[in-house]
């Protein structure tokens, strides 16, 4: 088969993947700007959302599965916030990293315990039932087949990003969170409860991740070890776009998704899983001074 003919299809799946990276990147940014912590459990929130949704979608409708999945994601976020907040004052960077890693593998272990190691398929949101099996609608565009579910992913991502922007810009809570991110002491002086804002930022990042997990579960199957790769990809996007910069993270996430899909599909199909990691490593190595300068300023 002609390789070039695959490009549109690969771009479409790349954009879908990139949307998830983008949401995870936004999650990293939210938590980083409020606590200067990189939350290694970020990818697990997507996993939790996807797993809960996949399990519930098999039994009930989307109207039940969606809120349940997002709620369990938020709960997980609150748990991480609790573990990080207890020692936040006196802990070193290494211990915070270790705590979030601990939570991350704990979530993965629990998911494996409850739902097993194998991948769980989920029916698409707007599909057509064919002989007891829900098949997704497909559109044909520029030589690529686009599934309705992929449109869902893209649409929800766009909605979330706009929502985030409005929230941080125009609501009181959002402004308070931004104040905390800029100067925690100053925020506390004017009466903002910093701990509550930090907890809120974890819950929000987790909720976002869980939403991403829900919409993506029919596209990639939900699996208990899907979190690491998504988390690293999202981190890569967050660094590329600049930590704390939402728009940059979103753009970088989508670009990263497309690049990963194209290189994996066209060049090294055996090493498809490694592409995101290689890109991450290369970016960290090429621009460490930029990354570090940002840290020094913060």
């Amino acid at each position: 088969m002609d390789l070039l003919a695959q490009v549109p299809q690969l771009v479409v799946s790349g954009i879908t993947l990139g949307c998830i990276y983008a949401i995870v990147a936004v999650g990293f940014s939210i938590i980083y700007s409020s606590t200067q912590v990189i939350n290694f459990a970020q990818g697990e929130f997507v996993m939790i959302g996807a797993m809960v949704a996949a399990v519930l979608l098999a039994k009930t409708s989307l109207l039940v599965a969606f809120p349940a999945a997002v709620a369990s994601g938020c709960l997980a976020g609150a748990l991480v916030a609790l573990f990080v907040l207890i020692p936040l004052k006196r802990a070193s960077v290494i211990s915070l990293i270790i705590i979030t890693i601990g939570t991350s593998i704990m979530f993965r272990g629990l998911a494996q315990l409850f739902w097993g190691e194998s991948a769980i398929p989920a029916p698409p949101f707007t599909g057509v039932a064919v002989q007891g099996y829900v098949e997704d609608r497909e559109f044909h565009l520029f030589g690529a087949y686009i599934r309705a579910q992929e449109l869902w992913v893209i649409g929800v991502t766009a909605l979330l990003v706009v929502g985030m922007h409005v929230f941080f810009r125009y609501t009181l809570v959002g402004q308070a969170m931004r104040a905390c991110a800029i100067n925690q002491l100053g925020a506390r002086i004017v009466g903002i409860n910093a701990r509550r804002m930090i907890t809120a930022s974890f819950i929000m990042a987790a909720g976002l991740g869980a939403v991403a997990g829900v919409v993506v579960s029919p596209v990639f199957y939900a699996k208990c070890n899907m979190g690491t790769a998504l988390g690293l990809g999202g981190f890569c996007a967050a660094v590329l776009g600049g930590l704390g910069n939402f728009a940059g993270g979103v753009a970088a996430g989508i670009i990263l998704g497309i690049v990963e899909s194209l290189t994996g599909g066209l060049l090294w199909s055996d090493y498809k899983d490694a592409v995101a990691f290689v890109i991450l490593l290369v970016i960290l190595l090429i621009r460490p001074e930029g990354v570090l300068r940002k840290r020094a300023e913060a």
């Binding site: 272990g109 494996q112 490694a274």
Partner: protein, 478 residues
């Protein structure tokens, strides 16, 4: 401040006597260790001995990682990669020699890696010069891969091209020349070596050990010299990415590593008794109180390495280098301002700890009676497990690592035994509990005892002691 200073000076006059006491005290743990080492096979059974061998391998890993994490304060979430590189190098060389058609590619790749590492080490360049240097070395390596050109011409090309590049880029032509020459030499030597190994059907495990250490040193230097410029979260992510990439290579490079379906099996155990003098053999037989079988032999070998590693680590920690590590840990800027070459020390400890991991990997691959390796043994979870061991035993505590590794390995065994009984809890099959338990251990230890169990315990004791002393003093005054 003043008082303690003068006390220290006064103490200095009486130093000889005190020092001797201190030395004896410091030697005690080692003596205790040696006695346990020699006589352990008398008291434990076969299954326990197997566990103890595994503990030894993980202690090696944990001690190495502790030097990096606890003393130098640099996190590595990809340490299992070096463990795997050691294991795979030795496993491949001894049990599954590289097939003829892959040999040129592998040896040239190896030569290029080494040459780039040497180039970096000698010239210490960065930015575009480094990029061009790497590209040139890769191209020259590709030249070596073409069988139509005589090796001598390739070698001459490599030296001349690198020399010219060194002149043009002003990075020292002689140093660049050396890296070109090493590229040529290594490419041919490793080709010859791999062919020879294939003909003989496998190398000796000792060769595997040495080659593994060399390869690990090269790779860890390449990675470390670049990655260690990063800090905190970035470093953690970069090492994590590196670890995952290496695991994917183990899984996917089926022509060499056997891939994830097979792994490598029938790896011969290391025959260590045939290499030592007779009196040592008699000593071991006397200590074990029986004829020393393969498994007991292997136990002695692994723990001999552990002993060496601990002595090495304790000595490094107490030396000038160890102080430099700690200075880097507490404040990199302050250390640098006092003239500590922080970058060099960080890379040194990274390479050292990677090499220790590689030795552990070789020992793991040749484990008597098992001799089997699989990519899943070197994945992200293993790296996390190593971090758990270090954290539990206490960062910046060499003996703590021993304790941490032993505790985690025992815990793993207990969990495995528990899972064999197919336990159920509210209708939930309890399987695969390791991640949950390890995650919980990480969180709890980091929150409650960030110094680790050993340090936390001894700190608690000494606080009690001091508290008691203070009370006594107050009573005396009263």
């Amino acid at each position: 401040m003043d008082g303690s200073g003068s006390k220290r000076i006064r103490g200095g006059q009486a130093a000889p006597v005190r020092l001797r006491n201190a030395q004896v005290l410091n030697l005690l743990p080692f003596l205790f260790f040696l006695v346990c080492y020699a006589f352990a096979p008398r008291v434990v059974n076969e299954a326990q001995l197997t566990t103890i061998i595994y503990i030894g391998i993980y202690v090696l890993l944990a001690v190495g990682l502790n030097l990096l994490m606890g003393y130098a304060g640099q996190i590595s979430l990809g340490h299992a990669a070096f463990f795997g590189i050691g294991a795979y190098t030795s496993g491949i060389l001894t049990a599954k020699p590289i097939a003829n058609e892959v040999i040129p590619g592998v040896s040239v790749g190896f030569a290029v890696l080494s040459a780039v590492a040497l180039f970096l080490l000698l010239t210490r360049v960065s930015g575009w010069k480094l990029g061009v240097g790497i590209v040139l070395l890769v191209l020259l390596g590709w030249l070596h891969n073409l069988s139509s050109i005589a090796p001598a011409i390739c070698a001459a090309c490599a030296v001349v091209v690198m020399g010219v590049f060194g002149l043009v880029a002003k990075v020292g032509w002689s140093r660049a020349c050396v890296s070109g020459a090493v590229l040529a030499i290594l490419a041919n030597v490793s080709k010859w070596f791999l062919r020879n190994t294939l003909e003989r059907g496998g190398a000796s495990p000792w060769t595997g050990l040495l080659v593994g250490i060399f390869l690990t040193a090269v790779i860890s230097y390449l990675i470390g010299s670049q990655v260690l410029r990063l800090r905190g979260h970035y470093l953690a992510m970069a090492t994590l990415a590196f670890g995952v990439i290496v695991e994917i290579v183990f899984r996917q490079w089926t022509a060499v590593t056997g891939g994830s379906s097979d792994g490598i099996f029938n790896i011969p155990p290391i025959q260590f008794f045939s290499c030592i003098p007779g009196f040592m053999r008699r000593f071991y037989e006397m200590a074990a109180g029986k004829t020393v079988d393969l498994r007991t032999q292997y136990y002695y070998l692994v723990w001999a390495f552990v002993f060496i590693a601990i002595v090495l680590a304790v000595n490094i920690v107490r030396s000038r280098v160890g102080r430099a590590f700690r200075a880097v840990h507490s404040s990199e800027q302050a250390a640098a301002s006092l003239g500590v070459d922080t970058a060099r020390y960080k890379v040194q400890v990274f390479v050292l700890s990677a090499c220790m991991a590689s030795v552990a990997g070789t020992l793991h691959a040749h484990n008597a009676g098992i001799g089997y390796i699989h990519p899943s043994e070197f994945g992200f979870m293993v790296s996390v497990e190593l971090v758990v061991m270090v954290v539990l035993g206490g960062m910046a505590s060499v003996w703590g690592s021993l304790f941490g590794a032993a505790a985690i390995q025992t815990l793993k065994d207990t969990l495995l035994d528990l899972e064999k009984t197919n336990p159920e809890f509210w209708g939930l099959k309890l399987q695969g509990l390791d991640p949950i338990v390890f995650g919980a251990v990480l969180i709890v230890v980091m929150i409650v005892l960030p110094q680790g169990l050993v340090r936390g315990f001894s700190d608690g004791l000494s606080a009690l002691w001091r508290g008691a002393g203070r009370i006594k003093k107050q009573q005396g005054v009263g």
